[in-house]
Amino acid sequence: MSRRLLPVAVALLLVTSGCVGLITGETVTFEASPATVSDSTLDATGYELQNATQANVTRDVTVAGQDRTIRLVTERRQYTRSGSVFGVDVVELSRFIVVSMPSATVGGQTLNPAADWANRRVLEAVLGRTSGTDDVEPAGNRTVRALGADRRVSEFTGTTQVAGQSLDVRLHLVSFEHEGDVIIAVAIHPENTDETDAVDDLLTGLRHSGD
């Protein structure tokens, strides 16, 4: 393609790919649909919805000398089950968090890097510097049916601090694309509490409708 035709091709690509906003000056928004756990699954597992949040984050970019705004809308649901640890009743003995983020596809190219990450890489990004979970080690994989397909769930062990004491914990993490969104579900609970069946039920009970 000649250099003179390239800008025309790019501009047409933006129009046909749904990024007209980059040209017209509008904010370009990529919005995820929430992934939730069905009520019947919550009843069966004893988990409760603790909070539902929508994050609306923008970044400004300069395209062809013009200022534009990219907006990503992500959805997060946190479910918890109460219990006791170190003899103390706690509201959040186990946590199950499910996040949906837009794949952000432009011209057939998925821009959200998490769309094709392995679970381990997702975990590294999720743990970041604020999770409070240390000494994380892989502890096997299993397959669970979720949102119409078999999904690879990875388990990890680690430690966290509860009431000033170190507590061994187990994490379960799965990440996959579904109907235009990247779905990431992570569960964390004390190592001495077997939540595997409950986590599998929560994953099987996921509901999500994107696109």
């Binding site: 995820a32 300069t62 990503l72 998490a114 999770s131």
Partner: protein, 173 residues
């Protein structure tokens, strides 16, 4: 994912297309690489040479977390701002699959795919460090070095990457 246009206006699209085509035509012209560099740019470039050797011997791509996969194989324009006198220096390089710095040159390169932006104090800190790979990695992860795309799709991509990184780090609330 749903793309949600807030309004549609055919005339604005047409006018916008003309603006984009004109602007991108200008962008396609090779950039002046070194002519507008301040005096301290040469000193910065010369100081970076030995630092890059130490950096390349010690860099571990896995330390960069999820950003690593986005940096591998990229051509980088590094723009360094000196707010003390309002001048900017630029150097360019490529990052190989191990995130080692290759082809370090003074000035920008026309085939750059990403731009790293930082200030002179951050670069001075990295150059003076006995462990520049760790210092560089920390600067990237702490946003002392910010990364943006070059080219329309790349710009959107890096905006998305930067947002996704923040969302994932806050997943535990």
């Amino acid at each position: 994912m749903k793309y949600m246009p807030t309004t549609t206006n055919f005339a604005r699209v047409v006018v916008g297309l003309v603006v984009v085509v004109a602007a991108m035509g200008a962008v396609a012209t090779p950039a002046a690489a070194q002519s507008d560099q301040p005096d301290w740019a040469v000193e910065l470039f010369e100081d970076m040479g030995p630092m890059v050797g130490t950096y390349n011997e010690n860099v571990d791509a896995s330390d960069f977390g999820f950003v690593a996969g986005q940096l591998q194989g990229e051509n980088v324009n590094l723009v360094v701002d000196d707010p003390a006198n309002g001048t900017e220096a630029s150097v360019s390089f490529t990052l190989d699959n191990d995130l080692r710095i290759q082809e370090l040159e003074l000035g920008t390169r026309d085939d750059a795919t990403i731009q790293m932006s930082t200030d002179k104090a951050t670069m001075d800190r990295i150059i003076a460090s006995g462990n520049p790979s760790t210092e560089f990695k920390n600067a990237v992860l702490n946003d002392d070095i910010t990364i943006s795309g070059i080219g329309t799709v790349s710009q959107v991509k890096w905006a998305v990457i930067n947002i996704v990184g923040g969302v994932l780090q806050g997943i535990f609330g």
